[in-house]
């Protein structure tokens, strides 16, 4: 009962934080002479106004769900995975190369899972390395992850600018994946692919592992109190590596399904910050599956509607990032909202 009330309060804070962010950006637009009402109505139009718009929103939300789960899983275990960006690149690249090197005579139902699993393995190892360095050397995982992000980004960039660049291609990208390995579209002529179903399945799996398995229980125990968990017999060192590895595998899926769904190939720098947005998603969604889905839909719709907003209201499409960033700041600072309401009551 108490926990329900706590969740309800958190949900309330989240909604107020989101509202504040929209309000603040609305005021900024007003000061700059743009029409915020027109901007927001066209934002809504661009995100939900047609079946195309909705499929765009959903397709932008899918990678956010994976990274949100990745960060959320680590957070539940008291660890901070800021390395999603790197894991996305490693996962996407490994899977793309696997997909391109599997001989054509192998049927898609073998080849596709194989390629996807190689990508997940890449993210698993890349994330696990952070966990290992944290567990064995006691170095802050945030700092290690920042280094690993840039190493992953520059390394994959090097590969697709040189050894793995597509023939006669001006842009740094791999060859296009065979059609049979590309994920089928749910709605033709949109970017929405069957990765949507995988995202939902992963949310269900995440919920099951956290609530119904011993490992999930151990993870939550570590998140509550690392020392108490260790005293209680949880193998903290081993689990730190495992949590970061699984988190890395989840983040990698965001990259893999962008490569196999949205783009059909690995393109240099394609993530452009999805890994960092995932941190916001996990925080807003309180690391719960439903919360992560809702937060992803919010940010997905912002990204999907930004273009329409820019066309109709004249403001730069990048204003969606200002809203996203403000939501992150307000959600991470619940005391601002508590403080404001306390002031009002007095």
């Amino acid at each position: 009962m108490k926990k329900n009330r706590q969740n309800f309060a958190n949900l309330g804070y989240s909604l107020i934080a989101i509202l504040f962010s929209f309000l603040l950006v609305g005021i900024i637009m007003l000061i700059m002479g743009y029409d915020p009402l027109k901007a927001y109505s066209s934002l809504f139009e661009g995100a939900f106004g047609s079946s195309y718009a909705i499929s765009l929103t959903l397709s932008k939300s899918v990678p956010l769900v994976f990274v949100g789960l990745a960060v959320g899983f680590a957070l539940q275990g008291g660890l901070f995975n800021i390395g999603g960006e790197g894991q996305i690149y490693i996962g996407g690249f490994t899977a793309a190369i696997a997909g391109l090197s599997i001989p054509g005579f192998i049927p898609a139902w073998v080849a596709l899972p194989l390629a996807i699993l190689s990508g997940i393995a890449g993210g698993f190892l890349w994330g696990g390395a952070i966990g290992l360095i944290k567990a064995k050397l006691n170095i802050n995982e945030v700092i290690v992850a920042i280094m690993m992000n840039y190493i992953a980004q520059t390394m994959t960039s090097f590969f697709v600018n040189g050894p793995f660049i597509a023939a006669r291609s001006m842009t740094p990208q791999t060859e296009i994946l065979p059609q049979k390995l590309q994920l089928p579209k749910i709605i033709p002529n949109t970017q929405l692919t069957t990765s949507l179903y995988i995202a939902i399945a992963m949310c269900a799996l995440y919920g099951f592992v956290m609530k119904r398995t011993v490992f999930g229980f151990e993870v939550r125990a570590m998140g509550n109190n690392m020392h108490a968990a260790e005293t209680g017999g949880v193998r903290v060192t081993r689990n730190t590596v495992l949590i970061m590895a699984f988190s890395g595998g989840l983040a990698a899926m965001a990259g893999i399904f962008e490569v196999f769904g949205t783009y059909g190939r690995f393109i240099d720098g394609f993530s452009s910050g999805i890994g960092f947005t995932g941190i916001a998603i996990a925080f807003i969604g309180q690391s719960t599956p439903l919360g992560i889905i809702l937060a992803s839909l919010l940010f997905g719709s912002l990204q999907a509607g930004a273009m329409q907003m820019s066309m109709m209201a004249g403001v730069s499409a990048n204003i969606d990032k200002v809203i996203q960033g403000l939501v992150i700041v307000f959600i991470a600072t619940p005391n601002i909202i508590r403080y404001m309401f306390k002031k009002r009551r007095q």
């Binding site: 900024i28 700059m32 002479g33 901070f80 800021i82 360095i133 050397l137 006691n138 170095i139 802050n140 945030v142 700092i143 290690v144 920042i146 280094m147 690993m148 840039y150 190493i151 520059t154 390394m155 960039s157 090097f158 600018n161 040189g162 910050g273 960092f276 947005t277 941190i279 916001a280 925080f283 403001v315 730069s316 990048n318 204003i319 969606d320 990032k321 200002v322 809203i323 996203q324 960033g325 403000l326 939501v327 992150i328 700041v329 991470a332 600072t333 005391n335 601002i336 403080y339």
Partner: protein, 303 residues
Amino acid sequence: MAVASFAVNMLMMTFRLAVPISLASIGVSISERSGVINLGIEGIMLLGALGGVVGSHLFGSAWMGILVALIVGAVIGFLYSLCVLKFEANQSVIGIGLNIISSGLTVVIVKFIWKKEGISGIVNQMATYSIPGLRTIPVVGAFFTDQSPFILLTFVIALVCSHILWKTKVGLRLQAIGENPRAAATAGIPVALYRTLAIVAGSCLAALGGAYLSVVHSNLFVNNMVAGRGFIAIAANILGGWNPLGSLLASLLFAFTQALRFQFSAVHVPDQISQMIPYVITLFVLMGVGRKARAPAKLGVLE
């Protein structure tokens, strides 16, 4: 002679490339010595870069641009300290939020002022200076020939900050806060005030580094022109041992690896590899030093 002038060119290019990273990195050192992590350095540099261009655009002088950038840095630093100190927010998350806000807000403001997406108009750039008497000295003369004052300024700032941290009461108190905030508070040190000042100073230095990119090194703002230098600065600070002079040296090392790729374009080191080097070095140094890393004991833990 050719070899000597090549070496001088290489040196000057290293210095020029090192300025923005060094300034931000010294800022990171100061802030982290007080126990506060700021992952938003990248965003603050970007806002500083924009501030520089806007200031130069409005007032017609690059120096006014620098001033505007410093004000922007101070304001952002203050807001950041408000969030993490007064409202006890998670530092890493706020930093990331700040980066995302900055990457969007800068483009929005550029479009508002110049009606262009992602690139500003040309503004007045800072003039270079030459000192007639000193420019004829071999090798050292290059310092005094057609250079921006920022190279010397960066060295001075590093020395001054190092002096403050280790030789003054204020600096030693700041370090005490980073090592053990509770003990410092018990000893009567106003912890929150010191931390706020450290964050604001660090943020100003990062903004200055950003403004160097936009109005000293170039004469316009381009979308995402900081391009990861904020994170390189965080790495340089670690490699430099959370210490302004160390940060400067590490930044020079990183800048040198960048300069190599411009000077040895014939040998062809791929860009991505030379970009990767700072992060690989830092990661391995961290792993090598491990537990013995000289980080402030209570870094990122606010009590």
